[in-house]
Amino acid sequence: MNDQQICKTLLGYAQTEAGVNAKVKVTLNKSEKKAVSVLAGNPQSYDNSQTRSIQLTVIIGQQKASAASEDLSDTALRTLAKETVAMAKVTPANKDAIIANKGEYITDAEMRSKALDLFDNTPMPNAATLQTMAKTMEAAALAVDGATGCESAEVTAFSTSISILTSEGFDISLSETFYDAGLGAIAGTDNSQTTKYGDTAKRYVADLEDLAKLGRETAEKAVAKQGAESIKSGKMTILFDREVTPTLLRMFSSAINGMAVDKGMTFLKDSMGKKVFADNITIVDDPTIPRGLGSTPCDSQGVASEPMTLVADGTLKTWILGLAAAKRLSLTSNGRADGTTNMYMRAGTISRDELIASVDDGILITDMIGHSVNITTGDFSRGAEGFIIKNGKITKPVSEITIAGNLKDMFLNMVPADDLKIEYSTNAPTVKIDGMTVAGK
């Protein structure tokens, strides 16, 4: 049986069990992964994984249950249908139980996804080719003066296909590829080691950045951190480098998630139509970027994802909505049941160098460690590394510090540089924020 036939079979079993008025959704995921790693020029590993799993959701009235199985045998599918329907029948009604109706989901998925160009048709490279790529990247890193090692140099190739079929007629099959090469470079020895992680991720293997350049630049960044020390605590101006600003933007997208808003669990719950960022900041989410890592024709509910502006000149314009959150807030889904797609903050007007030159006493943050952010309150506190800025110039490296503040104030005080580069699914330029607390010695 092909994927569509398997989905159709399970859908049929579930409908037979649940009755004609039930709504049913079947999702089949298949993936193939090849990954290699090298250490000091020697191959360390080769992984080849071929896996699949099927998910079933059944809604009877508003009673909902879900199940997943990696066993696709006919017996397993029959059992899956039977047990999921039995579970739904004893589960209390849920106002969020929803499967898109005709008219809500897209019917031109194939055309839309073709334009997105998310599948690399060239055959997946074999183990030897992937190893050569990893070796090239690592060798370039190790050749840098002052580089002492690489903790990992890995190249991964993914190919996935997803098929979704619902009782309401939504039917889609999407295939995507994904290539990733990354390394952790080390400089220095013993107690004075410094590290830097670098990576490149693309839909097409040929689009990966020059791996020797990636290796070299990553190692140079590790070397530049040599001699890093902590500093005295105090209030300071912080520049978040382009390498770390996507993290701040992801926190913002969690804070405007429609479900969190309706439940009152975000510090931005009362901010619709209000200033949440500095005046000149605009944030866009665009699912239509060809070969984009977050590009998609629709969300997993089948609702079309179209480009939209989240923040225009500092003002919050929309929540992130799937069908359930939209219903709760009496709004319309914007095809974001799975969150943002390709989100980016527009570039500012001054260069990164000018932004640095504008700081008398501050820190350029190039790396953050830890996960501490509280979306309910906006409280932010993170471990950080970077470089001290004195009188407009980068001086020495700094480590073992934390930076803390509240996202509400941080967003309102952001000044973006003009160095935006769209390379991941979340992107932002370097930004400056005044008045954050730095904790050091």
Binding site: S69, A93, A127, G184, N191, F267, E385
Partner: protein, 471 residues
């Protein structure tokens, strides 16, 4: 008949020759077959958000030659697919190895060999999370949101080696998590409590009120919290949950795979890495604990491994390959998340042993500092030797007394320096109630931590927002 055999129709005897062929010319390797099932009920925003179950099954075949490891996995547990995977691995790896010795045969039984699934039917589990929701909302009128997750899983594994060694383990787990959000009109805070062990649901059904009370207590404390001070200061870490310090600050750094790639603890065996009186252990043998395993995922029986003895680093954590590389054999730390993953060096239950001081005296002897009690996790850069962990419940201590709760903050320190500044060690050791899930190389592993109350006089920086509040 073992359940995996029943499921696949393949017995150890049938598989041994296949594995022998697949690992011909290798130093090591095995076939790992897994069948895992799980079930879950979640109440959120006053309604049952999800009732779900899932099954996952597949095999992973591994071939180790020198330092090179080739791995293939698939959902099709058939002789044909295993043979195909073997051919793929042979093509990708050298064949000049000599087969290493088989692991010892284990006889541990650290948890009941039964599945919690099916123990309570779905209506009873739904009723439990509804009862918890109603109880919490009834106790405090500031409660705005309650989320309760009740889940269980059982992982059934069979490991078949080329030398005929066949090992099996059936690993149950229950997880209970309560998240509470309070709002008094002026501020809003979220707190939580967790419970997780390798056992049946019984303790959760019997004792859920105390876990709900703990979630309420923590959220209430946060509602009164003041800005946290910023800077290096005396830090007192409470018993139990603070064990995350050892997990992050030394644990990862002495996993042998990270030692080999350049951890800041490389070459430190026999050297002082912590204050005298500090003994740190990684122990897979604690009955029912989240991090315990009868055998690891290479088939090695688990053990209690002393890592730091009276401040001196005495051992690394090792899987079979690193047991050969560094000598001394595996310490039973070769673990994997599922059949989709190659085993790597992982922690189990990592803890510091008791000292002899009354924990109240540790606070009474502290002029000014922060007393941290509960955490939301941590992270480490083992090569740079920098660790962080995030306190979610902490207090300001002044003149020997707890003065006020402070807002959550990140704590940061240097792996090789922080633990040398432990000056007071309490006698109140405990493990965490729940433990956590440790992430490494894209794999999650259930672990647990523990310790007595301790004090650090330096080496840890507290990442609050109040830079003036401290001298």
């Amino acid at each position: 008949m073992h359940s995996i055999e029943k499921l696949t129709g393949l017995s150890g005897d049938m598989l041994i020759p296949l594995v022998a062929t697949a690992t011909k010319g290798a130093d090591d390797g095995e076939l790992f077959i897994e069948n895992a099932i799980s079930e879950q009920v979640v109440i959120d925003d006053g309604q049952i958000k999800s009732t779900a179950f899932s099954n996952s099954m597949g095999f992973g075949l591994r071939r180790v030659v020198g330092e090179f490891q080739a791995y293939a996995c698939s959902n099709d547990i058939t002789i044909d697919q295993i043979k195909k995977s073997a051919a793929e691995l042979a093509l990708a790896s050298p064949s000049n190895g000599t087969l290493a010795e088989a692991p010892k045969v284990g006889n541990l039984s650290l948890y009941p060999a039964v599945s919690p699934l099916g123990e309570y039917d779905l209506p009873s589990r739904i009723k439990l999370v509804q009862d918890v929701d109603a109880y919490i909302r009834g106790k405090d009128n500031r409660v705005r949101q309650v989320q309760v997750t009740l889940s269980a899983n059982v992982q059934d594994v069979m490991i078949v080696r080329p030398d005929g060694h066949v090992a099996t383990d059936m690993r149950p787990m229950v997880v209970f998590i309560i998240v509470v959000t309070m709002d008094d009109g002026t501020r809003s805070e979220t707190g939580m409590a967790k419970y997780s062990r390798r056992e049946s649901y019984k303790n959760i059904f019997a004792n859920w009120q105390s876990i709900a009370d703990e979630a309420l207590r923590q959220t209430d404390v946060l509602m009164q919290s003041i800005p946290c001070p910023a800077g290096e200061m005396h830090v007192i870490l409470a018993k139990g949950d603070s064990g995350v310090l050892f997990h992050e600050a030394v644990g990862h750094g002495i996993e042998a795979d990270l030692i080999r790639t350049g951890s800041s603890f490389s070459g430190m065996i026999g050297k002082q890495v912590a204050s005298k009186g500090v003994t740190v252990i990684d122990d897979g043998t604690i009955e029912g604990s989240r991090g315990s395993i009868n055998i690891d995922d290479e088939g090695t029986p688990t053990e209690k491994t002393v890592l730091i003895e009276d401040g001196i680093l005495v051992n690394y954590m090792k899987d079979r390959f690193h047991g050969r590389f560094y000598g001394g054999g595996s310490t039973g730390n070769g673990r994997r998340q599922t059949y989709r993953h190659r085993p790597i060096v992982r922690m189990r239950n990592t803890f510091m042993e008791n000292g002899d001081m009354n924990p109240d005296d540790i606070i009474a002897n502290t002029k000014r500092g922060v007393y941290a009690v509960a955490y939301s996790g941590g992270q480490v850069d083992p090569m740079a030797g920098t660790f962080v962990f995030q306190a979610t419940e902490a207090y300001l201590v002044e003149n020997g007394k707890i003065v006020a709760p402070v807002k959550g903050a990140t704590l940061i320190g240097s792996c090789r320096e922080a633990l040398k500044n432990i000056d007071l060690i309490g006698n109140d050791f405990s493990l965490e109630e729940a433990g956590g899930t440790c992430g490494k190389s894209g794999q999650g592993a259930p672990v647990n931590d523990g310790m007595p109350t301790i004090r650090l006089t330096a080496g840890i920086t507290v990442g609050g927002t109040d830079a003036e509040g401290i001298q």
